[in-house]
Symmetry: D3
Subunit: 234 residues, 6 copies
Amino acid sequence: MTPETRQRLKQVSTATLTTVLFKRGLRNVFIQGIFLLNRAAPRMVGEAYTLRYIPAREDLDQLGAFEGRGHPQREAIEACPPGHVLVMDARRDASAATGGDILMTRLMVRGAAGIVTDGGLRDTPTIEKLEFPVYCAARSAPLNLVRHHAIDAQVPIGCGGVAVYPGDVLVGDGEGVVVIPAKLVDEVAPEAASQTEFEDWVEVKVKEGRSIFGLYPPNAETKAEFEGWKKSRK
Amino acid sequence: MTPETRQRLKQVSTATLTTVLFKRGLRNVFIQGIFLLNRAAPRMVGEAYTLRYIPAREDLDQLGAFEGRGHPQREAIEACPPGHVLVMDARRDASAATGGDILMTRLMVRGAAGIVTDGGLRDTPTIEKLEFPVYCAARSAPLNLVRHHAIDAQVPIGCGGVAVYPGDVLVGDGEGVVVIPAKLVDEVAPEAASQTEFEDWVEVKVKEGRSIFGLYPPNAETKAEFEGWKKSRK
Amino acid sequence: MTPETRQRLKQVSTATLTTVLFKRGLRNVFIQGIFLLNRAAPRMVGEAYTLRYIPAREDLDQLGAFEGRGHPQREAIEACPPGHVLVMDARRDASAATGGDILMTRLMVRGAAGIVTDGGLRDTPTIEKLEFPVYCAARSAPLNLVRHHAIDAQVPIGCGGVAVYPGDVLVGDGEGVVVIPAKLVDEVAPEAASQTEFEDWVEVKVKEGRSIFGLYPPNAETKAEFEGWKKSRK
Amino acid sequence: MTPETRQRLKQVSTATLTTVLFKRGLRNVFIQGIFLLNRAAPRMVGEAYTLRYIPAREDLDQLGAFEGRGHPQREAIEACPPGHVLVMDARRDASAATGGDILMTRLMVRGAAGIVTDGGLRDTPTIEKLEFPVYCAARSAPLNLVRHHAIDAQVPIGCGGVAVYPGDVLVGDGEGVVVIPAKLVDEVAPEAASQTEFEDWVEVKVKEGRSIFGLYPPNAETKAEFEGWKKSRK
Amino acid sequence: MTPETRQRLKQVSTATLTTVLFKRGLRNVFIQGIFLLNRAAPRMVGEAYTLRYIPAREDLDQLGAFEGRGHPQREAIEACPPGHVLVMDARRDASAATGGDILMTRLMVRGAAGIVTDGGLRDTPTIEKLEFPVYCAARSAPLNLVRHHAIDAQVPIGCGGVAVYPGDVLVGDGEGVVVIPAKLVDEVAPEAASQTEFEDWVEVKVKEGRSIFGLYPPNAETKAEFEGWKKSRK
Amino acid sequence: MTPETRQRLKQVSTATLTTVLFKRGLRNVFIQGIFLLNRAAPRMVGEAYTLRYIPAREDLDQLGAFEGRGHPQREAIEACPPGHVLVMDARRDASAATGGDILMTRLMVRGAAGIVTDGGLRDTPTIEKLEFPVYCAARSAPLNLVRHHAIDAQVPIGCGGVAVYPGDVLVGDGEGVVVIPAKLVDEVAPEAASQTEFEDWVEVKVKEGRSIFGLYPPNAETKAEFEGWKKSRK
């Protein structure tokens, strides 16, 4: 992802991105069943660093599991590169947490771009005050050991019903999170920026009282009008 | 619906309306699984203008479908009369949108009373700032073509598990939306207004420390006390 | 529950409590599927006073059912002792209410510590303004008679998938509600308070840039550092 | 329930019973989400003997719980009177069993009319061979202690979303189970028998090629024809 | 649909049809959540005749609704042409029936090809003995008035999550039902027949011990072998 | 797993195994939401060979994906060792298949002990006739590419909510499938065999009319009686 792409993606909505990806035949790109916990957070753009959970097993998932360096969840928190998004596959089971405030804070301090989980998070009253984009499926106090066992990182996963490959780009706004395949990101970003510029102009026209017929989608006349407006701004 | 009825319905809660309709044998009048997106919106009262979606089919539901005048969703946005509520049947599937900010804004500018969908909406960070009542089942970025195909308008539909016939009256507050059969609306409104006046008085008594026994529901003594209070106010 | 325990429990999170209970083999202590309606409410700590609903039956559940003294829901509102939490088992069915603003206000005035239901509540726009902890599964306008029949009080129940025995202690914060078995509460509270002190210190260290390796969970060195810090504060 | 009523109910379908109860305003009488495990079983008719489960708690629900006489599930197996149906409220959670083959066999030997649970059952490959009506929500091997705690018997319960009061009459066929309020059973049975006689006659006419218009529901001419046919049979 | 197409479709599986439609970009063609009630039934092939239900409303949906000729469900039973499949949209709600044995028998006698509903059916112990393909979502005794209101016929609908337009061709086997868009049916049938011939040959080879590598999907050598085998049979 | 263990496990039920594992603190060992497709199959016992799916992505999951040797699903079919069970993690999504008759037949011919998937299977009318244990979550015609992407094999997975590590032992009967951690299997098998012998004896006693009090669980007297009976048989 070029720096220009990253910058552009911070200025387009997830809604617009789904349209641009739909034109390329991709219909299943919006992570289902999650929400933005900390609504004062900046827009989220970053490459996926993935973590996979399987169901817990009582003999393996005791508190001692976190000790030492080997625990994949703790490893992932320290390994996720700056500018990346930690994406967790919790099998859409939010009845227990996949992380809490200390881990979220550490990720933020390390410069991560955000975190997305289709499981729960705990300590959400603290997390929601961070200026850091955190998306989860539920506020869920139980520690992860009750339900989840972190098993490996940087493998392809599912998150909220969407495939996420390490290196895919995740974009998040107040609506949710879209996954852009790595190979498409540099072509999707400028197209989404253009579409955004057009839709912002349409919004103004609609507020002025214009009918949507011929405007959205635009007919030839509207296209010409928009192109004229764009030129006039330069 | 008389203007007086419309005015009264703006001052009663959906909770009170379900009680008044229950007395007439109607138990299933509250649209399930939706929420008010823009909490600064005024109370919603208006007649139903309905739109029905069926599942999308990949060969029919391409971006070109929106072009020209014939698309039922775009037609409905321009046809829904002022003072009416656009009600969408999306089969309670919120994994894709049934509309976005441009369409919502156009509806508002045209004088609609509000919109209710049991599917998703996109561009919700923008929509939630409109001073216009918008109810949906989820914030959902994917465009409708991914999942929904608008098929016809002004037919009886289901929305959130409730029957909605064109012309039924929808009332919405911060709790949700109630559907009142058209033929009942002028008798329901004054009864709900009376019930509201009584419950407001009860609330004051409860805050003063009165037990609910004999008060709510009222015994003969309480009824007399309330009637006396009402007279004293005039 | 000693006054000291009550005080301590007001200062620990539900997340920390699930960890302390997990150490004792209890994995299912967090009530699933509910949320705090009135976010300005104080922390909730209190003994459970339980109320059980079964499905409604049309011939029994008419408006007249509330009249007289015998209705279990109304009885429970007047019987729940000060400092206790009214906990309702509505079979996780939130398609109708299990109470409304008048009952919630009466509970608050009577000195209850809060209320938890795995069903719906009505009049939520009013309830959410009370400075009183109210947890429910949904905003739901329909009166309880549509779906629920209050049947008995102070029996063991399930609430949001968790066993609640009368006298168990419920603790609620912005994340949700944990159920502590009565016999464990006086040993759980100080342990949770200690754990909270440690985690608050960890949070500071993480904000200063410390890695979580060796810190959380702590190795011997970290434990010594924390003990030193604790001594230095006294 | 008179012996004549019991006999009649063995010859009518659950479908017909829902219609007869619907005429009396009862819409929610069919237990949802269960199936007949042993399809060679006789029709089931009997009064409800109820058993209630709440969620398990790890410290209480260990194998030792079954020892001695006090365990409510074991008590219920030995206490359910001959001719009665044991009805279990397992909160519609079928992820663990609420009984197994030994208990089902004991019930059968004791002369019970059948058993209905909205939880799971274990040892179903053995149970399904009994000539005894057993209805459950799933084949589920885990012992009840994993999820369920038997708490009390002969209290009103919910089963599969339907209210069941001790003494209500349960009727089961290959389709499922209907709950008839005790006070209605002697009037419902003959009406259902008459309706069955009429529908059997209609079925013959339809097989002969008759249109359903005027036949089902019957117009005056059809009613007369049916009455004539009934007389001709005597 | 030509007679030859109809004949071919009776000899291919729904699995094979989903593959042939997938090649044309159609991914959502298998009706979800239904099963074949009468497993001795012949294969089902026929054009869709559609019926749409909305939620019931207590004042409209009383037993009298079936009287006279106007009731859409009864009309549909008498209007569905021979060789067609009656397809019902019950909003995937199987808690009540959308038909019973008399209506199913009438449909069969009239020469319909089968029936598909994403709601429940009643009298299933009788229906399952008919030699007629009947697919539903559940055995469900309650009459349709409890939950469903038949509203119109021969409009596009959703059934089990799939779009069904009047005239589309439905094919059913023991696995379920596939919907083929009307315009594609004559090209899909021969392709599916060829694919079936190949897969039957593969099945024989696999039973003989052949590895699936190079066989399924076939490499050039396997393709040649299969073509040779086909020629040798003529 | 010793040959003796394998033999013993073929003679115990999944219900008994859950009890024996419960004694060791393992509560979540029964795969939820699946059923045995081919009921004439022999009992299933074998070590887990795992396959993991993630959600499909339209650009990657085209029919060409199966060509060549690299496709993980096809590789797994050819790599699963004789005596092992192929266990598939399809994220509990059964709206598309994870395999069909050709692959199942190949597995059987290769000597696998069975297959378990928490997704769908296609060609089930053919598969159900194989004398080979096949467990799935639904009959589902759509090819896997519609929803699933096979990603890797022999990694720890979740299946039906249960953790499965490669080498764990899966035991299946007509009720479902239990997962036994590899390290426990040789101690669990004899204990389950003993428990089975006792319960078979209890079943006889219950059929003779014995009360379950003191019998199940057994008191000292019953234990002595059973031990005597065992000795008398030798």
